[in-house]
């Protein structure tokens, strides 16, 4: 098992390197550079060139990448071209803010989505089942920006129950929590339908398996059958998808963060891409890749825990 873990970890390295190189190439082989953003519209050509040289942007691409890589390996991710802050500080701060949002969204979507899925599977073909699945489909299809704007308009503006925008502080404070509700609701809201449907379908599949029929035949109470046997196995694909969705949430957070002025990684990444702030883009993609890879690993472990039939060599 240990060998497997180490092998997996080592294999993530080329993935992360590959991602970083790909981003670098895409952005650099493209027109646009931050020097002119800094210089502004009225700057003469020599001033812009001056800034570009100062930032090292006139070097050949591979030289720039090499420079970036060698300092990165020493722990120095460089400075944002526009804000001049350490990339590690900026990205870490933004990442933690997005993590707050994503975790909150995840928690509430799990709390609502899974029970609905379980109930729907248990009461198969009932009105509840049909209704909840249809509602789930509806939720899956609404564009997230509309949900966010409507949620803000209804709950914050018209009803005044929650603050309109911004982050109010760490999530363990009252102010922080209040500001977290609507964005988390919006982001998580899009996840609930998928989770509910998935839970339902994998639970149904599990309930059809032989070992469940055996348990039923042995006369065990229905509830016990469902809870102990079927649910545990049904969770496998759900866990997988939760993992897969996590990386996706990072991107989905972009719209939510824009609408609610949440100072997170999504907004940072988009702004950095649009202003060609290369070090920041590299930093955000790095964080995202590492997160994705970590989640994958964790998911696989959960897999092993939940299903002892899976052995890793």
């Amino acid at each position: 098992m240990r060998v497997y873990i180490v092998r997996r970890l080592l294999l993530t390295v080329p993935t992360i390197l590959g991602t970083s190189l790909l981003v670098f190439l895409i952005l650099h082989l493209v027109p646009g550079d931050p020097a002119s953003v800094i210089a502004g519209p009225a700057a003469p050509a020599d001033v812009v060139a001056n800034i570009r040289t100062q930032l090292g942007l006139d070097q050949p691409i591979l030289v720039q990448y090499w420079r970036y890589l060698s300092s990165a390996l020493h722990g120095d991710l460089g400075r944002s071209i526009l804000s001049r802050r350490q990339v590690s500080d900026e990205v870490a701060g933004a990442f933690l803010n997005t993590l707050e949002l994503v975790i909150a969204a995840r928690v509430w979507s799990l709390l609502i989505g899974i029970p609905i899925g379980v109930l729907a599977a248990a009461r198969r073909r009932s009105i509840f089942d049909k209704l909840s699945m249809v509602t789930a489909l509806l939720g899956l299809s609404l564009p997230i920006f509309w949900i966010g704007l409507m949620a803000m308009w209804l709950f914050a503006v018209k009803l005044g129950w929650f603050p309109i925008s911004g982050r109010g502080g760490p999530m363990w404070t009252a102010a922080g929590l209040q500001h977290l509700v609507l964005p988390a609701l919006t982001l998580g809201g899009v996840q609930v339908p998928a989770l509910a449907r998935l839970t339902r379908s994998s639970l149904l599949e599990a309930l059809n398996q032989d070992y469940v029929r055996t348990a039923r035949a042995k006369g065990l109470a229905e509830r016990l059958v469902v809870a102990k046997h079927a649910l545990k196995n049904a969770m496998l694909p759900v866990v997988t998808v939760i993992g897969l969705q996590f990386a996706g949430l990072l991107g989905g957070a972009v719209v939510t963060e824009t609408i609610f002025s949440w100072p997170g990684l999504g907004r940072l990444a988009v702004t950095a891409i649009l202003t060609r702030d290369f070090p920041i883009v590299q930093g955000t993609i790095l964080v995202s890749a590492v997160t994705f890879v970590t989640i994958n690993l964790l998911t696989d472990f959960l897999y092993a825990v939940l299903d002892p039939r899976i052995k890793y060599t």
């Binding site: 800094i38 009225a42 001033v47 812009v48 914050a156 925008s165 907004r267």
Partner: protein
């Protein structure tokens, strides 16, 4: 009730109490002005930035040698209480105020001023606004209270440039101490507010400098600010910003609003809408290196076909004036008779121009010549009202048979392309406080390919512009700039669209917040401002 139900009820109640409490929008922070903006500044090092958003903060954190009065014409004292200009116009001697201190406690000396100005001019600093002090030859500090600036030639605009936010005086010790972190993690100036906290892309907080006693005379309050704190909050979404201002009390003032809300906001008794003029021009500029627009008939046709009134009234709800020439009418030295040279709105004349040039209407209404359709690609920034403006212009030009293709790009992408001359037409705008800022930058031949992105070159114009910088005779200056504008208008290299007005929308509780038009900041020093509880 069963224990389970009790638990659930208790939990629900607890949750509701925490989450559904009174909206904390009106933060219990008295005497704090909260400004709402769509983006954040990057740095507050005056020699590293060019953005308006940075300048308005710098006016509050720093001081400059001199200041520009609200009337946009008079130079008034700043850190310099008086100054003398030599008869040949090449030597300026400034006497500094006494008792001025940086936030760190260090006393301001002439050496600090020299350091700041030298750093600004130094190519190694790579300041984006370096060209504003290009004519300065040397800065010296003969004693603690005196600064002497020598220029290469007489300069009519040095004082204007010394009043800009980029001329802010910095503390050399702070720069040396913080190095690359200066302007982001630490700021040390002499201004009425001190740097307190900066959560990037969220909020920027400054607090009152209690030692401040050297305010410029254009404000009523020359001493410490009345406000305890000023917060700049970053709110990227327009609707959100509006909600925060109107309902939540999350911000007290903003300059950035959805224009269609203006009529309603103007009537709201809880708000005050202060509309003011700025020195700014938005224009369409033709790249005369492109064959399609080399024919002056095409350029004139566009000039005749654009209905500027509609742009101002329909998109921007009357917040501004149609432009007749490149220079805003409110700046010092503006040409009063520019209307006589300008193109009026006349689709008939536009069509006549195109007919004369051999462009015949095709089957879909768009004109064709030698098998080529008259389609103008217009480059513009994807924001700031440009897409809407171009959509309207598109509709207007179709009436006379010209089609438009909108090439909308984000800022980082557009400047490089414009500098490379990729555009046929571009839509852009620029703040300015005197005619030289616009005319010299954009129409002097030495400024090609950028900022003169139009390929405009006229030796007579060059000579006039250079004379305008050095000739002290105000009447002659007027003549010069009138002549230059006449030539620019005649060449139809630009279609001046409109001079934006600005609206500062504030809670009615805010008093004495007077917008300043310099560099389009709006917020100059906030020393007079107070908020009623």
């Amino acid at each position: 009730m069963s224990t389970r139900t009790a638990w659930w009820s208790a939990l629900t109640v607890a949750l509701l109490l925490t989450l559904g409490g009174p909206t904390p929008g009106a933060q219990a922070q008295p005497n704090t002005l909260i400004i709402g903006q769509p983006t954040d500044a990057d740095s507050l090092d005056p020699h590293k930035v060019s953005a308006v958003i940075a300048v308005e903060r710098m006016y509050n954190l720093y001081d400059t040698l001199v200041n520009l009065d609200f009337n946009m014409e008079t130079i008034v004292p700043g850190l310099a209480e008086s100054w003398k200009i030599s008869p040949d116009g090449k030597t300026y001697t400034f006497k500094l105020k006494r008792g001025v201190k940086f936030h760190s406690g260090k006393a301001l000396t002439a050496q600090d001023v020299k350091y700041s100005l030298d750093r600004w001019r130094d190519p190694a600093t790579a300041s984006p606004t370096r060209s504003r002090v290009a004519e300065v030859e040397e800065v010296t500090a003969p004693d603690e209270q005196t600064v002497v600036i020598r220029t290469k030639d007489r300069s009519n605009y040095l004082l204007f440039n010394l009043a800009s936010g980029f001329a802010s005086i910095v503390n050399p010790d702070a720069i040396k101490q913080h190095g690359a972190n200066y302007g982001t993690l630490a700021v040390d100036g002499t201004g009425p507010f001190k740097f307190k906290e900066w959560v990037l892309r969220d909020r920027f907080v400054v607090e009152r400098n209690p030692e401040y006693r050297w305010g410029p005379p254009m404000f009523k309050n020359r001493g410490p600010a009345k406000l305890d704190r000023v917060v700049w909050r970053v709110i990227p979404e327009d609707a959100t910003r509006l909600f925060e201002l109107e309902q939540g009390g999350g911000i007290n003032v903003s300059r950035w609003i959805t224009f269609s809300e203006l009529p309603r906001l103007r009537k709201d008794p809880k708000l005050r809408v202060v509309e003011y003029k700025v020195g700014y021009v938005v224009y369409l500029g033709f790249n005369m290196n492109k064959e399609l627009v080399q024919d002056i008939h095409v350029r004139r046709a566009v000039n005749y076909a654009v209905k500027k009134d509609d742009i101002v009234n329909e998109i921007f709800y009357g917040l501004g004036t149609p432009a007749q020439g490149p220079v805003s009418p409110i700046v010092a030295g503006a040409w009063k008779d520019v209307g006589k040279a300008a193109y009026e709105y006349s689709p008939a004349k536009a069509r006549a121009q195109l007919d004369e040039a051999g462009w015949k209407p095709g089957s879909d209404g768009i004109r064709v010549k030698n098998g080529k359709r008259l389609v103008l690609p217009i480059h513009a920034i994807a924001g700031y009202g440009y897409p809407d403006t171009l959509t309207l212009i598109q509709a207007q030009l179709r009436e006379v048979g010209i089609d438009v293709e909108q090439v909308l790009l984000e800022e980082a992408a557009i400047w490089g392309r414009l500098a490379a001359g990729e555009h046929t037409v571009m839509a852009m705008g620029n703040p300015h406080s005197n005619p030289d800022e616009i005319l010299m930058f954009y129409f002097h031949s030495k400024n090609r390919p950028t900022p003169n992105r139009f390929g405009f070159a006229d030796p007579k114009v060059d000579a006039l512009l250079e004379e305008g910088r050095t000739n002290p005779d105000k009447k002659r200056q007027q003549e010069i700039y009138a002549e230059v504008q006449k030539k620019v208008i005649e060449s139809a290299v630009w279609v001046p669209l409109w001079h934006p007005g600005r609206a500062m929308i504030m809670s009615a509780r805010v008093t004495d917040l007077r917008p300043h038009a310099i560099y389009d900041v709006g917020y100059h020093k906030l020393v007079d401002v107070s908020i009623a509880p």
